[in-house]
């Protein structure tokens, strides 16, 4: 099931992605709780993620790295803030240095995941609150590795109108 909606709120620098998936809420929860599953989707195929620490409980820490096509590594961390299985997960998501530890523990995005039944599917919304626009820039850079070529049409047509 594709992404249903994405909403950007520039007032509080949040971006919310809403999706519906073909699974139960318990199954959706496992996508986050089980690091082996998380590894299969968190990083782009060209930058696969490896979680070498994943303490999935409030106050728990996660450490991961993504390996690029040229072997270079991008490190990241989570601190789990809240878990209410299988409905709500809140964690901090930030960048780490080559030693795998946060470059700046105060520089993170707060991610709130809400999982709820929607008919026989499950609706999952992921809201990221950025602390600065700079952080948003950095966070998109990994995604850029996949190459973004489409989606530029909208503004072009607006300009042409």
């Amino acid at each position: 099931m594709p992404v249903l909606d994405t909403r950007l709120d520039t007032d509080d620098l949040t971006l919310t992605v809403v999706t519906e998936i073909d699974a139960t809420p318990e199954r959706a929860w496992q996508l986050w709780a089980d690091h082996r599953q998380l590894e299969q989707w968190w990083g782009p195929p060209t930058w696969p993620a490896t979680f070498h620490r994943h303490e999935f409980e409030p106050g728990g820490e996660s450490r991961y790295f993504m390996t690029g096509p040229d072997g270079s590594k991008g490190h990241g961390w989570f601190t789990i803030v809240e878990t209410d299985a299988p409905n709500r997960l809140v964690f901090k998501d930030g960048f780490a240095g080559d030693d795998g530890e946060p470059t700046d523990p105060e520089d993170y995005g707060t991610v709130t995941v809400t999982i709820e039944p929607a008919g026989d599917r499950t609706r999952m919304s992921v809201q990221t609150r950025f602390r600065s626009a700079e952080q948003l820039t950095a966070m998109t850079e990994m995604g850029m590795a996949e190459g973004m070529t489409e989606a530029m049409g909208q503004i072009d047509s607006l300009v042409a109108a």
Partner: protein, 116 residues
């Protein structure tokens, strides 16, 4: 890649500029057609000076450009910067669209026990 054309300071200025409803509205209006500052001032229940101040914030962020034409100050959209800001957000959205596609693939692969 256009995103890399934005420095971190540029990005912060853009977000600050867009974190206000009136300023977002001004950008939307001038994207459709150039407007004079006085045209814009008529549309909002605030003083000419207040509207001028909003335009100045947008101008510093590069989201609009202002040119003088006779006695009028004409406000244009700063298309290149708007384009860059938009692609920044789109690339984040893009990241998540791909994650969701991978989740779907993962679920399809491991969906052996669940009935539906």
């Amino acid at each position: 890649m256009v995103v890399h054309g934005l420095s971190e300071d540029d990005a912060d200025r853009i977000f600050h500029a867009l974190a206000d409803r009136t300023r977002r509205d001004i950008v939307t209006r001038v994207l459709h057609a150039e407007q004079s500052v006085s045209d814009l001032a008529e549309r909002y229940s605030m003083s000419f000076a207040a509207v001028q101040k909003h335009v100045a914030v947008l101008e510093r962020a590069g989201l609009v450009r202002k040119v003088r034409r006779g006695r009028e100050q004409i406000v244009h959209a700063g298309l290149d910067v708007i384009h860059q800001a938009k692609s920044l957000l789109e690339s984040y959205e893009h990241l998540w669209r791909h994650r969701v596609a991978r989740i779907d693939a993962l679920l399809a692969e491991t969906d052996t026990t669940q009935g539906d």
